[in-house]
Structures are given as structure tokens and as C-alpha cells.
């Protein structure tokens, strides 16, 4: 087995060091070593998006990134989204719109939507659907998810 490496990253605004094997994915380290289990494992091959995190502001599938690749990166996970005293407008919109049923895909959707709204504060329905197409939801049919992102975009414009 290859030697373990020390990796230094920023996770949810806090400098974090961890030890990992070269074969371990960022998702595995987040979940099993750092106890950040909000990022979910649905497929392990980048198809479902349940493990989406932001890496230097971009939405990525953390199951497709090796943990060693996170050296020096700024990572944001679902655990870092809510402010101390409430919820982010996206989280709030998901609840108001009933945009989740089982909830397993929800963290990934919120992370992808967050990346989208950072890039495009006023996306069209088509923009939203295109940008969330890498996140699979099997419960909702996406209708309420798209509406939630629309609502969150509107709420952010008002702030």
C-alpha cells in the first residue's frame, strides 16, 4: 500500500489537515475521516451528483476527486452553507417549496444551485435545468426543485 499523505485544505472556511491514502476520494475522506456526512454517496462515479461540493467555488463531484488533489483547495460542503443563526436562502426555499422528499439528493442540489447562483444571479428556468442536470433526484420530478432555485434567486436579488 502506498504511503499516506498529509493534505492541507480549507474546508468550510477553516484550514484543515488530513492524512489519506492516494487512492481515497475526497468524498471518502469527508465522510469517513472528517465526519462531514452531509455529502452523500449515490454512485461513486460522478453520475448522480449527491456528493457535490464546491471546490474553489466550482461545483464538483467529490467522488471523482482524489483527496490528495484537494491540496491547497478551498472546499465548501453542505455543512458550511447555513449561517450560524439561520438558513441560507436556498435552504429556506427548498423547505418552503417542499423541494425534497427523501432528502438524499438535497445537499448535492443545494451545492450545485449555490454555484449556479454565484455565477448567474438571475438564471432562466432553462439555465437552472441545464446546470442542475448533473444532480439526480428520483422523488420529486424536479418541478419543485427548479421553483425553489427560482425563489432563492429572487430572494438573493432582494438582499
Amino acid at each position: 500500500m502506498a504511503k499516506k499523505r498529509i493534505v492541507t485544505t480549507t474546508i468550510n472556511g477553516k484550514e484543515t489537515q488530513f492524512l489519506c491514502q492516494p487512492r481515497q476520494t475526497l468524498l471518502e475522506i469527508l465522510r469517513d475521516d472528517l465526519a462531514l456526512t452531509g455529502s452523500k454517496e449515490g454512485c461513486s462515479n460522478g453520475n448522480c451528483g449527491a456528493c457535490t461540493v464546491l471546490c474553489n467555488g466550482k461545483a464538483v463531484n467529490s467522488c471523482l476527486i482524489l483527496a490528495v488533489e484537494a491540496e491547497g483547495a478551498e472546499i465548501e460542503t453542505i455543512e458550511g452553507v447555513a449561517p450560524v443563526d439561520g438558513l441560507d436562502s436556498l435552504q429556506d426555499a427548498f423547505l418552503q417549496q417542499a423541494a425534497l422528499q427523501c432528502g438524499i439528493c438535497t445537499p448535492g442540489f443545494i451545492m450545485s444551485a449555490k454555484a449556479l447562483l454565484q455565477e448567474q444571479p438571475d438564471p432562466s428556468e432553462e439555465d437552472i435545468r441545464f446546470n442542475l442536470a448533473g444532480n439526480l433526484c428520483r422523488c420529486t420530478g424536479y418541478d419543485k426543485i427548479v421553483r425553489a432555485v427560482q425563489d432563492a434567486a429572487a430572494a438573493r436579488q432582494q438582499v
Binding site: S39, Q101, I104
Partner: protein
């Protein structure tokens, strides 16, 4: 019958578990971490059909970091015995063989052995050191081929069973034959002006829940076993575990974790007994999580099918007769939902003369399991497609045809039973009156289709406990695992019963030692049946509160009224719920009540869908332009989650119709066991989904609830192929109507 007097029912409060789910704090099955926990991996068969000649685990056992290796012989031997799982029966001999194969493997991915090790990588490596010697046998993958006498036989203990007893002497793949008859079918077809007979095929499709199966087990040193798992039925897991391990149920506690989708696929056990065996051998807790390929290859998809339907109607468009032959691919072991397909196939209509034959057939594919309205989607695809052709032949509006033939209260189904109060007609009327149906659809290669569907919905048993707190809130302990917002729908029913706010109920889904028995979260039963239990608990709490307040006021119980969250007594005496709660501890015993249900069964529910499509004639790709779902929901408790069920069910039906299928090679290997190649609908594939909630209350439920979850998956394939026909003039009689298949038909036209 509007819910005029309801204060909570019909509103849209934030779900109680919502914050945990949008912050990533909700604990799903794979999220559990235990001290000293090991990770497990399963070795699976590379062959679709083979005899196991030997298994050598010695190398794996001595691999550094490995703590335990188990095979099928670690499970107790099972006799042929049927276990009643509340939601359905299961043959324990087959279930045990499915959990870990013994003599034979019956599908690629069939579990053969398992390893527990310090980490998942070591466990996976060690499985590759297990040496299994197979005698490879020819597989049979198609339902009609498997029914032939010369087909390879999967199970030598299977004979064709029917109501009349065994129909075969020799081992066969045809495990069951069902037969229904009503009236005189020949007479019925003689009276017809139009008779259409068609054959339909559907592929194996998967529920496609995003969360893979998982189980963490601790076989403690005192012999007590705890299982943390995501399941639709923690009590079903406990019972299956007890039966498979031959232990009393009291030795097993099942802790239901949040469940990331189930749709029928998370009722049967797969990993739970294996994790327990690994824990017993290693003396440590063991976590097993499936990878996505195993979820596809080794859990319980819904069967592929062959269906032949013949229907006749007179000049006026009244159905005169209907006949069906339905054969389902059960997978490696018997138990497909073909019987449900038989009972659903003509349920939308008043059929004077009918005959239905159904066959449950083993093939070398994973053992099939329930998937949302099991069997009804296959059935609706076939029957509704024939209806569409009859309408075309009679030049009759498909809405008018449905209104003319719709089943209603008193209609006798082909299986003989009469319907109670149902809302089939009302859903068709809702579509007729919708903006969508009234709008015109213009443009080349565009078409519109409608179709209806039915599901029984079940009752079964539930228990809840409700506890009054001094601050005026009520804790609700339930055992129905919450897949899609039932904490909310149950809390709302308790809140309505007590006359308090939904937010003042604190629901918790607890383990099998902490609440009374609950049947599975399935059959669209929780809001109905656990709802009745919750209502009963609320009534009992009200009774005790009245008693208490009578005691406080020193008046007779009869002189106290409970109304609107208040108690009122003689001389204008009054307490609000909150005021009274504050006095409970000072005035007597705590108020902790239970509620149970189990003597009611649902009357069934119907939906009618309307869809507009545009077909690209160059590629065969179908775009869904507009979609409207009308469904009889009895009474919608939380309309947003009712809409969500309708939208989500329809989305699954659309995926089934247009893309989803297991693709097999000739050796019986699934060639598309990833979400990239087994393509469920994405955000880009669907439009907004309009919903029309039709409310025909079910009188058996105190608030008129009907189950909502399952019906909406049934109509989409039939509605879509009807729309495709209108768009490009080809009738797709094989699912999915995926681009290559549809293009092939377009080019052949």
C-alpha cells in the same frame, strides 16, 4: 366536499425534518459511525447461471486487515416455509438463498460471500482472494423462452402453483398461474363492433433510489443484535432477520435511519443478515454499503414482461369484453407482482365480460421486487394502449370513451370484487376541464396522449405513541419510516385532531423496541393507516384531557367539551390546550397515549394523465412539452407533498416509458449498470408538471385520506406512446420508447 372546517389539513407547513435535510445533518443509513466499526464488501457472481462447486475462503481470511469472511453456509439451513411479512409473503428458503447463494447462483451479481476488514479497500481486495469454482450453466433471460419446456430450469424446487394446486409435476420456471374470469368472454367479443388485440413487451427497470442499500450490524457479546439500516419497514427487517437467522425477534433491534428513496425496493433484506453474520464472526460492528452496480444487478427491480391484450367495444364505444395474458419475469426466484398486474389491468373500466391469465416466471435476472404500484404500470401500458386504438377506430374522443366506461362505485372488477366509492370518473373530468386539454397543440411531430391508471392502496397495521409535554407540545413516536414527508402528514393529522398547530407536534421515527408494531412504509398506506392510528391517539389524548379538566374543575366529564384546541366547561370555564398542558404534572399522572390501526383497508385510487410531446424524426428522441396529472387523493393533508408524489411518480413513469431498461448481453450480464447508461430522467428531460388534486374522500378514513404515492407511475407510458403515435404515426408496443427503438419504428413505417 371541501374540507371547510379543517385548520391544519390542507395547509403547507414546513416539514419537521426539513432543517436536518437541507443542512446535511440528517443521518442516512451510510452515515453511521460506530466505535471499532469494520467495513464489509460482498463477492458477487460473475455468471448469470452457474452451479457453485466449491468456495475457498482461506486466502481471504488470512489477508492482513481482514476480520471475518462468511458464505452461505454461515446462514442456518431453511426449509420451504412461507413467512408472512405483513405486506406480503416470502419463501424463506428462497430469501435465504438470495441473501447468500448456496448451491447455485441465479443471476449476475448474486451474493456469494462477504468480508469484513479494517477499511473498505482491504475488504474489497480480500473478496478477490475468495476462490469460487463454478460450473457455468446456460442462462435464460426472456420470459417467453423461460416458459418453454426445453428452457434451462433455475430452481429444482419450483412447480407451477395455482389456486387449484400444483399444475406441473416436474421442476419448471413457471412458478405461479393466476386466472380470473367474469361473464362470458366469447359472448362479449361477439357483441363488439371493434376488437383490437395487441402484444406488448416491457423491459426490466429499477426503482433507482439515489441512496444505495446499506446495513450496519452489531452482534453484541450478550447476543443482542442491533441493525442500523435504511428500510421501508424496520419491523419487516426484524422479522426477516429473525426468520433467516432462526432467532427470536426479541434478540433483534432495528434502528431505522433516514431512507434515501425506496419505491418498494427497500422492503426485502439483502445486506442486513450478512452484516450481522460478519459482526458475529468478528466481534465488531460492521457496515455494508452497496455500490451502484450492485444496486442495479443484485437488488429487486421490477420485472420485464410480455402482455397480450384483446378488448372489444360496441358502436357506441361501450366496452363489451376484455382479455389479457400477462407473463412477468420474476427473476432468479419466484415472486413477481404479476398478480397485481392481473388485478389492475382492466380496473379503470366497467368490463362486462373478462378473462385474465397471469404467469410468474423465473429467469436469470435479479429477484424482482415491488416498484411503486407493482405491476400496474405494465398493465396500464398495455390496456390503455389498446383503448387508444379502439378510440381511433371508433373515431371517439379518448376522454369521452373513458367517461363512458369508467369504473365507479359498485362496478364489478374482472376478479369479481365490487368497487367501493372511487374517483376514476372524476380524474377524467378533471383532465377534460383542464387548461391543458382545452388548449390546442400545434406544430409538426407533436402529439397529445392521455391515459388512466389504478392502484389498490393497502391498509395494514400501525402503532404510535403520543406524549403531552408541559409546554403544550406533543411528541409523536412512530415506526413508519418517513420517505417523503410522512412526519409532516402524520403530525398534521394529530394537530388537527387536537386542535393545535402542526409545529406543536414533534414527530420522531423510532426503533423497533421503542414503538408498537408497524407494517411497511409501502402500498401508499402511511398517511392513511398510520394516520388512523395518529387520529386514534389524538382522540384518546382528548378523552384524558377532558377527564383531567373535569377533575380540576370538579365537574362531570359530560359537562366538558373539547373543541378547537380548547376545553370548555360550565359557567364559561375555559382552558386552552397550552394552559391545560401546563397543569398536567401538578394535577395527576402524565398523559401518554397510544393509537393503533389495522382494521381498515383503502378503496383504491385512480389517476388520469395528459401529455404533449414533440418527436425528433431524425433521432427518435421524444421531448415532453407539457404534462398534467389529475389524481383522486381523497383528502390532501399536505398538498405540497401530495403534488410532489404525483410529480415524482409521473417522472418515474416517464423514465420507464422513454429511456429506462436493463440491457443484457447473451451471457446474462447487465451492460448498463450505472446511472450514466441506465438513464433516469434529469432536470433537462422534464417540463414543469402540472397537478390537479381531485378530492373524493375515502369514508373509511376520519379525514378522507386516500394513498397518493403509487398511482401516478401507472399512466405515463401509455399516455406517452399515445402522444408519440399522434406525433409520428407509430405505435410503440415495446418499452422503453427510447430513441433507437422509436427511430427504428419511424424508419420502418
Amino acid at each position: 366536499m371541501a374540507s371547510t372546517s379543517y385548520k391544519v389539513i390542507g395547509t403547507r407547513p414546513i416539514r419537521h425534518d426539513g432543517t436536518d435535510k437541507v443542512t446535511g445533518r440528517a443521518q442516512f443509513g451510510a452515515d453511521i459511525q460506530l466505535s471499532g466499526m469494520l467495513f464489509g464488501a460482498i463477492l458477487r457472481s460473475p455468471h448469470a447461471h452457474a452451479r457453485i462447486k466449491s468456495i475457498d475462503i482461506s486466502q481471504a481470511e488470512s489477508y492482513p486487515g481482514v476480520h471475518a469472511v462468511v458464505t452461505g453456509t454461515d446462514l442456518p439451513e431453511q426449509q420451504q416455509k412461507v413467512a408472512h411479512l405483513g405486506e406480503g409473503d416470502v419463501n424463506l428458503y428462497h430469501l435465504s438463498q438470495n441473501v447468500l447463494a448456496r448451491q447455485k447462483v441465479l443471476y449476475k451479481g448474486h451474493a456469494v460471500a462477504a468480508v469484513a476488514a479494517d477499511d473498505i479497500h482491504i475488504a474489497q481486495e480480500a473478496t478477490q482472494l475468495i476462490n469460487v469454482e463454478y460450473e457455468v450453466l446456460p442462462p435464460v433471460l426472456d420470459v417467453l423462452e423461460a416458459m418453454q419446456d426445453e428452457a434451462p430450469v433455475l430452481n429444482d424446487d419450483v412447480r407451477t402453483d395455482s389456486m387449484a394446486g400444483e399444475e406441473s409435476k416436474d421442476p419448471t420456471n413457471v412458478a405461479k398461474h393466476y386466472f380470473y374470469e367474469k361473464g362470458n368472454i366469447e359472448k362479449g367479443f361477439e357483441a363488439a363492433h371493434v376488437v383490437i388485440e395487441r402484444e406488448y413487451r416491457t423491459s426490466t427497470v429499477h426503482q433507482g433510489y439515489i441512496e444505495p442499500h446499506n446495513a450496519t450490524a452489531l452482534w453484541n457479546q450478550d447476543g443482542q443484535i442491533t441493525i442500523w439500516t435504511s428500510t421501508q419497514g424496520s419491523f419487516m427487517v426484524r422479522q426477516q432477520m429473525a426468520d433467516l437467522l432462526k432467532l427470536p425477534e426479541s434478540r433483534i433491534k432495528v434502528v431505522p435511519m433516514e431512507i434515501g428513496g425506496g419505491f418498494g425496493g427497500k422492503i426485502s433484506v439483502y445486506l442486513q443478515p450478512v452484516a450481522a453474520l460478519l459482526s458475529k464472526k468478528s466481534g465488531r460492528p460492521v457496515k455494508l454499503v452497496m455500490d451502484r452496480a450492485s444496486v442495479f444487478e443484485a437488488t429487486g427491480p421490477t420485472p420485464g414482461s410480455y402482455i397480450r391484450v384483446k378488448m372489444g367495444a360496441d358502436r357506441e364505444g361501450k366496452l363489451t369484453a376484455a382479455e389479457a395474458y400477462v407473463a412477468f419475469e420474476a427473476g432468479g426466484f419466484p415472486g413477481s407482482p404479476v398478480v397485481c398486474a392481473c388485478m389492475c389491468i382492466f380496473a379503470c373500466y366497467d368490463v362486462p365480460h373478462g378473462r385474465i391469465n397471469g404467469y410468474d416466471v423465473c429467469v436469470n435476472k435479479p429477484r424482482s421486487n415491488a416498484y411503486r404500484a407493482p405491476g400496474s404500470t405494465h398493465a396500464a401500458f398495455a390496456a390503455e394502449s389498446v383503448v387508444d386504438e379502439i378510440c381511433e377506430r371508433l373515431e371517439m374522443d379518448p376522454v369521452e370513451f373513458r367517461l363512458k366506461n369508467a369504473a365507479q362505485e359498485g362496478t364489478r372488477r374482472v376478479d369479481g370484487v365490487q368497487f367501493a366509492r372511487i374517483g376514476m370518473k372524476e380524474t377524467v373530468e378533471a383532465i377534460r376541464d383542464s387548461e391543458h386539454w382545452k388548449s390546442s397543440l400545434e406544430g409538426k411531430y407533436r402529439g397529445r396522449g392521455i391515459a388512466s391508471g389504478f392502484w389498490f392502496n393497502v391498509g395494514l397495521k400501525s402503532s404510535v405513541t403520543a406524549m403531552l409535554a408541559a409546554d403544550g407540545t406533543v411528541s409523536l413516536l412512530e415506526g413508519s419510516t418517513d420517505i417523503g414527508g410522512t412526519r409532516a402528514s402524520l403530525s398534521m393529522q394529530l394537530a388537527e385532531t387536537l386542535g393545535i398547530a402542526a409545529e406543536d407536534i414533534k414527530p420522531a421515527v423510532v426503533d423497533t423496541d421503542s414503538v408498537g408494531y408497524n407494517d411497511v412504509t409501502g402500498g401508499s398506506r402511511v398517511t392513511f393507516s398510520t394516520g388512523i392510528a395518529v387520529h386514534n391517539a389524538g382522540l384518546e389524548m382528548r378523552r384524558q384531557l377532558i377527564e383531567r379538566v373535569a377533575n380540576i374543575w370538579e365537574v362531570k366529564v359530560e359537562d366538558v367539551q373539547y373543541e378547537d384546541g380548547k376545553v370548555r366547561g360550565p359557567g364559561g370555564k375555559e382552558f386552552t390546550f397550552r394552559e391545560l398542558a401546563a397543569k398536567i404534572h401538578a394535577t395527576g399522572e402524565p398523559i401518554t397515549v397510544k393509537g393503533t390501526s389495522g382494521s381498515e383497508n383503502q378503496a383504491g385510487a385512480f389517476g388520469t394523465h395528459c401529455v404533449d410531446v414533440e418527436v425528433d424524426p431524425e433521432t427518435g428522441k421524444v421531448d415532453v412539452l407539457r404534462y398534467t396529472i389529475a389524481q383522486d387523493c381523497g383528502t390532501a393533508i399536505h398538498p405540497a407533498y401530495v403534488e410532489g408524489q404525483m410529480q415524482g411518480g409521473a417522472a418515474q413513469g416517464i423514465g420507464w416509458a422513454l429511456n429506462e431498461e436493463y440491457v443484457y448481453d447473451e451471457h446474462g450480464a447487465m451492460r448498463n449498470a450505472t446511472f450514466l447508461d441506465y438513464r433516469i430522467p434529469t432536470c433537462c428531460d422534464l417540463p414543469m408538471m402540472d397537478t390537479i388534486i381531485v378530492e373524493v374522500p375515502d369514508p373509511q378514513h376520519p379525514f378522507g385520506v386516500r394513498g397518493v404515492g403509487e398511482v401516478p407511475i401507472a399512466p405515463p407510458p401509455a399516455a406517452l406512446v399515445a402522444a408519440i403515435y399522434q406525433a409520428v404515426g407509430v405505435r410503440m408496443r415495446e418499452l422503453p420508447a427510447s430513441p433507437p427503438r422509436l427511430l427504428h419504428q419511424i424508419l420502418q413505417r
